[in-house]
Amino acid sequence: MKHVKFLVDLGSTFTKVVVVDVESERILGRAQAYSTVDTNVMTGLLKAMQDAKREVGLVKVDREDVVACSSAAGGLKMVCIGLVPELSLKAGELAALGAGAKLLQCCSYKLNHRELSGIASISPDVILLVGGTDGGNSDVVLHNATMLASSDMSTVIVIACNKVVQEEVEFILGSSGKQVRLAKNVMPEIGKLEAESSRNVIRDVFVKNIVKAKGMEKVMEVVKEVVMPTPTAVLNAAKLLSEGINGDSGLGEMMVVDVGGATTDVHSVAAGHPVEGAVMKNLLPEPYVKRTVEGDLGVRHNFDTLLKLGEAKGVLDKQDMEEVKSLINPKKLPENEEEALLDMKLARIAAEVAVERHVGSLEEWYGPSGRIMVQKGKDMRGVASVIGTGGAIVFALKPKMVLRGVLFDTKIPHLLKPESPQFYIDSKYILYAIGLLANFAPRKALRIGKRYLEV
């Protein structure tokens, strides 16, 4: 049964298993089990594996055939330290998010002691240290390295700063016993983003460290390897499904909206170049594959924010406000039609606002030479496809109602949201599995994805 693979998402709200037959390009079964941060990762994994095996009629599964992505233990927790917020720090943030990180804190300019102890109290998995173009500013990153060296954190530090002082920074940190890894400068010059090198190093650190996390040795008896953080798997799937592969067409420029209990993620695979003669003015270019995470738009953890936004947008009324109280419990799934309806409204607000923050905008400038349209960020009006995923969309009463929140809105025409994309719903919850499979069988992954996404 070498062609049957068990693809696992560890440690999200639900641990999920998707079983695929790679040869026939079919999904044989899927299962999920509730997994909390406080309970052992293993409980959810064993239950989900058991159910999946039962569903496909297998008694024993070889460890070799089980591959996982993980957001166990709160995901890949990261802190980014940079120089100017709109430049190197922003570049660092983009790299960290693109690596699938949960970005907990960002610090600009020279660190002070309060920030340093703040970082220590978060105890991130990885710190990304950036700052200065190549040949540019060096004293800020040297200061920050010295500060980090003085702390007793054992976090891995990825150095992606001004190349002129990279070795000096490495020496400062290394001689105080810190684990360091080098990557290319995330912003080698103004107007140039070089995120890939950092992304790869961060992912490598993740893969090496995750197996050492508490409770993981048991997991590794069931799973062959944990190859990436869950958000990276989703991003991988988006890229593959958008671009296709020689001979197998993709779905065109794309956006993936992932509405979850704790955050809402938006991924885009699109150039987003200006149309209609607008000029683009970004000090830092927008990445072609871009991920944004809205930590205040989770449909279970952020009622207050969603209610405020919903009220402002006129989507929620007083009655909804009362009813929402019954949903205040991260484990809770809607039990009746009223709750399901309300849940759907909340998901729609989350999707709408998250996409509004992700997409670019147009500003009108008036000068002596007349009107100029200036674009900031990516123009997503032309994207061909939008995929909805995450529990709040997949299990919504009407998933497409939720997705309509991502559409271009004539009331806010300066926000460049998708105008007429084809909607796809990840109804079998397979997107992460496509991203995992893409690692070793991309063509099969693409075909399975296209077959099972629901139009």
């Binding site: 120089l83 100017v84 709109e86 430049l87 190197s88 700052g131 200065g132 173009t133 040949g135 540019g136 500013n137 060096s138 912003m187 010059e189 103004i190 107007g191 000029v279 003015k281 000090l283 400038w365 008036y366 000068g367 002596p368 030479s369 100029i372 200036v374």
Partner: protein, 142 residues
């Protein structure tokens, strides 16, 4: 170790998109050994400052040909000082004010705004380079 090139920032400020002059200047400075960060047209004043902070630039050379330079650059020197860039040389050139008037007025006005050098339109590039080298020498920047 390779010789460190000095970095300068260039661009047109505000809503001005007339970039031919500043492109020529940028090319000329590159040919003469400077590392030039070109922000090109329609550059908000803050972008000059941010780029200078990140690159450790020694000078910011701003072009404005649409007559609104004074509005765009009000308080620019103060912003630089606030951003820790008090030592960065500030040059400006172009049609700095609309209408017929004496060039000296422009020069005075922009010097008051904190610019080290103020140039009329059509200035010779060699002259700017000479000024830049001599001003950097005075500040003992290698």
């Amino acid at each position: 170790m390779e010789e460190k090139k000095l970095t300068v920032i260039t661009g047109t400020v505000g809503q001005d998109s007339h970039t031919i002059g500043v492109s020529l200047l940028s090319r000329f400075l590159k040919e003469n050994g400077f590392n030039v960060v070109e922000l090109r047209g329609l550059t908000p004043p803050e972008d000059f400052i941010n780029a200078a902070k990140e690159t450790d630039a020694v000078a910011i050379l701003i072009s404005s040909l649409y007559g609104m330079g004074e509005m765009d650059l009000a308080g620019f020197k103060d912003k630089c000082i606030e951003a820790g860039l008090g030592d960065v040389l500030l040059y400006v050139g172009g049609y700095l004010k609309i209408g017929r008037h004496d060039w000296k007025e422009d020069e005075e006005r922009f010097k008051k705004l904190g610019f080290d050098r103020v140039y009329p339109p059509g200035v010779e590039l060699e002259g700017v380079l000479k000024d830049l080298r001599s001003d950097l020498g005075e500040k003992q920047i290698p």
